[in-house]
């Protein structure tokens, strides 16, 4: 709506300016640096912001349009400096063709980047590739800057060898007419492709930009007849600046909203995690107390028995009573352990029918930011179709989270090659099998046999409860969790759960 409104408004401004388009405004050269500075800042910032969003979003098309913005913004600077009559004080005696060449390269370059963006949007799916690394983004920035500098140097130094775009400092030569024609063609193509591909907010705004650029060009080159510093020329320029500012505003607000949401999600995640931790702490404290009581009286009774027997005249009945109490307390401690186990089993009792792929997806969605932060590529080979299991959603999600988090931590030390976690889902008869493979250092043999033991951890900050709890949960669901013995490089954990439907030959009932 807003986009259409703005486009309409700009269209009206164009129409309003048309009757006076040819009127020359003398002495407006000093305004030009201000306009160019504003344009350069807006375009460079837009480019940088777009690049920054790439660390989270996954569209390589965005890289192209960001590069276009950067290139165009950077070229605005030499364009303004070389503009005839703008900086007479500097004593720059620049060829009139330099300014025009820069303008042509800038316009066609940006138009091409928009076209490339539209083409990539059409070619790619909604989500392709992954977040770009900071290194590749920096390389992109440097390449664009280098290209801009190279073009500027060529245009400013190539006096006499440049194409004859200008007849004099104001009027264009016949050769110029190819430039707006080419740009217009690019704009029309881009707009057409974007309207076909329209998927994101950015697509919509790029369409608006294309529209205003076309409007600007129409005013500049056709209505004002390509003559500089006329009302039509200035209106076109201002329209371009306004539309560029708008895209920037939209981008900034979108980024702010995204960040607010991200912060919100992160805070909620942390709360969840802390709540879980507090429950664990309370539970373990109470279990510790319950077991410590019989333990304490056993120790004290043993001491007492020793003392009664160690007397000059040993008092056997007292010692016997103490030993009998020790036996009783030993059994009591055993019962407490058994009860604790059954408590864990009971919480697994709140079962419902679940679609396992949905549970997996939900869990992976919660880990999205952790995966991105760890610089890990997550490849998922999903189940074909729904798989119904009976289980506790929260517990199963926690198992997935635990296994993926373990994999992420195993990959922390990997430098110089891709960090990859692969999740493969498959059916084996009535079993639904999910395996979690990482390409990290793997699990050495002596540790492999103990990895599911409680309080066993290879991590310096681990409690050693994670894998044990995972195995307990999966076994309480009638399944198994194991470490694949020979999975090649890295570690692969697999779990299987009984599926309630009949798999491929399902539908018998």
């Amino acid at each position: 709506m807003l986009a259409v409104g703005i486009a309409a408004l700009l269209g009206c401004a164009t129409l309003a300016a048309m009757p006076f388009a040819g009127v020359r405004l003398e002495g407006t050269e000093p305004v030009l640096p201000a306009y160019a500075a504003g344009l350069a800042v807006v375009e460079i910032m837009t480019g940088v912001l777009l690049l920054a969003t790439l660390t989270l979003s996954r569209h390589r098309a965005v890289t192209v349009v960001a590069a276009g913005y950067l290139f165009s913004g950077l070229l605005a600077i030499p364009w303004a400096i070389s503009f005839p009559g703008v900086f007479p004080a500097l004593g720059l005696d620049v060829d009139v063709q330099s300014t025009a060449t820069l303008a042509a390269v800038r316009r066609l370059g940006f138009a091409s980047s928009l076209l490339a963006y539209a083409a990539l949007r059409l070619a790619d799916g909604p989500e392709s590739g992954r977040g770009q690394s900071k290194g590749s983004l920096l390389a992109c920035v440097f390449a664009v800057a280098a290209a801009a500098v190279a073009v500027s140097v060529l245009a400013l130094s190539g006096v006499g060898k440049l194409p004859r775009f200008m007849a004099n400092t104001r009027e264009v030569a016949p050769l110029w007419s190819y430039v707006p024609a080419a740009a217009m063609t690019l704009y029309v193509l881009t707009a057409g492709m974007l309207l076909a591909a329209r998927r994101s907010v950015l697509d919509l705004w790029v369409t608006v930009v294309v529209f205003t650029l076309a409007m600007e060009l129409f005013l500049l080159s056709y209505v004002a007849g390509g003559t500089r510093l006329t009302i039509g020329w200035w209106t076109g320029r201002v329209l371009g600046l306004v539309s560029a500012s708008m895209v920037l505003t939209v981008l900034v607000s979108q980024t702010a909203i995204l960040y607010a949401r991200l912060a919100d999600t992160t805070a909620r995640d942390r709360q969840d995690r802390e709540a879980r931790l507090t429950v664990m702490e309370a539970l373990s404290a109470s279990i510790a107390h319950e077991i410590n009581q019989p333990l304490s009286s056993m120790v004290t009774n043993a001491y007492a028995a020793l003392r009664w027997l160690g007397k000059p005249e040993p008092h056997v009945p007292e010692a016997t009573a103490a030993l009998q109490d020790i036996v009783g307390d030993g059994h009591r401690a055993g019962r407490i352990v058994e009860e604790t186990r059954s408590i864990f089993r009971k919480t697994g009792g709140e079962r419902e029918l679940l679609d396992l792929p949905a549970v997996l997806e939900e869990a992976l969605d919660r880990l999205r930011f952790d995966v991105a932060r760890a610089g890990v590529r997550l490849a998922v080979e999903p189940f074909r179709g729904p798989v119904i299991v009976s289980g506790n959603r929260i517990q199963l999600e926690q198992v997935v989270c635990n296994l993926v988090t373990n994999a992420l931590e195993a990959l922390r030390g990997i430098v110089g090659r891709e960090r990859l976690v692969t999740i493969r889902c498959r059916r084996e008869g009535n079993w639904a099998v999910i395996s979690f493979a990482d390409n990290g250092p793997g699990v050495a043999q002596p540790q492999a046999s103990r990895i599911f033991d409680p309080f066993f951890s290879t991590k310096s900050n681990g409690m050693g409860m994670g894998l044990m709890v995972c195995r307990t949960v999966i076994e309480a669901h009638g399944g198994q969790l194991w470490l694949e013995p020979d999975a090649g490089a890295g570690a692969t954990f697999s779990l299987r759960l009984p599926a309630l439907d009949q798999g491929r030959d399902g539908g018998r009932e």
């Binding site: 019989p294 304490s296 009286s297 004290t300 009774n301 003392r307």
Partner: protein, 207 residues
């Protein structure tokens, strides 16, 4: 050997209480066990050196709260705390409030026995000091009004002549009263009398 003493044990866990009872009896203590602080308060208490072994974690009232309540009730008994999950601030609070010892379950037998011995020792000293004070008070109460005046004057450092002038009596009479005071208070020297006056809270030059 210590049948004139008694150890009270307050712990809600029957097995723990029984084991402590058995251990302390093995070294000759008489033990009385209670499952709750209220039961301990309701039971008749013996006027002999005693010590309280108190669990920190009790239903309805923590051991530390019970320690404060005993102080409010002016029941002066040395306390040995035992706990399954004590932390440093908790033990500091207990010790500051006058606990003898703070033991973590399971504890070494010797640690508990030593702590209980120390508690009983402390209680015995307190009882003896209290008994001595009671005796002095009784003796002081047996003095006549005039003898009490003379005693106050003597311990405040006045000479017989000054006391005679102060009370408007003859110096001989002062000497007679003074001899009576020394006899009734059961002392033979002036420093002893001054010490007793000090414990009774009478003004003395030292104070």
């Amino acid at each position: 050997m210590t049948s004139a003493t008694i150890v009270y044990v307050v712990d809600d866990d029957d097995a723990v209480r029984a084991s402590i009872d058995r251990l302390l009896r093995s070294v000759g203590h008489e033990v009385a066990g209670f499952s709750a602080p209220q039961a301990f308060l309701a039971a008749p208490r013996h006027a002999r050196p005693s010590c309280l072994v108190l669990d920190v974690r009790l239903p309805f009232m923590s051991g530390l709260e019970f320690q404060r309540e005993l102080a409010l009730l002016q029941i002066d008994i040395p306390i040995v705390f035992i706990t399954g999950h004590g932390d440093v601030p908790m033990s500091v609070a207990a010790m500051k409030a006058g606990a003898v010892e703070f033991l973590m379950k399971p504890f070494r037998d010797q640690d508990l026995i030593d702590a209980v011995h120390r508690g009983i020792q402390l209680d015995r000293q307190r009882a003896e000091a209290k008994q001595a004070l009671d005796e002095i008070s009784t003796r002081h109460a047996s003095l006549t009004a005039r003898e009490r005046e003379v005693m106050s004057a003597v311990v405040s450092g006045l000479m017989n002549k000054q006391i005679a002038a102060l009370l408007d009596i003859s110096e001989v009479t002062v000497k007679v009263h003074r001899a009576q005071v020394m006899r009734k208070m059961g002392v033979t020297t002036l420093p002893e009398l001054v010490r007793q006056a000090d414990r009774l809270g009478l003004p003395t030059p030292k104070a």
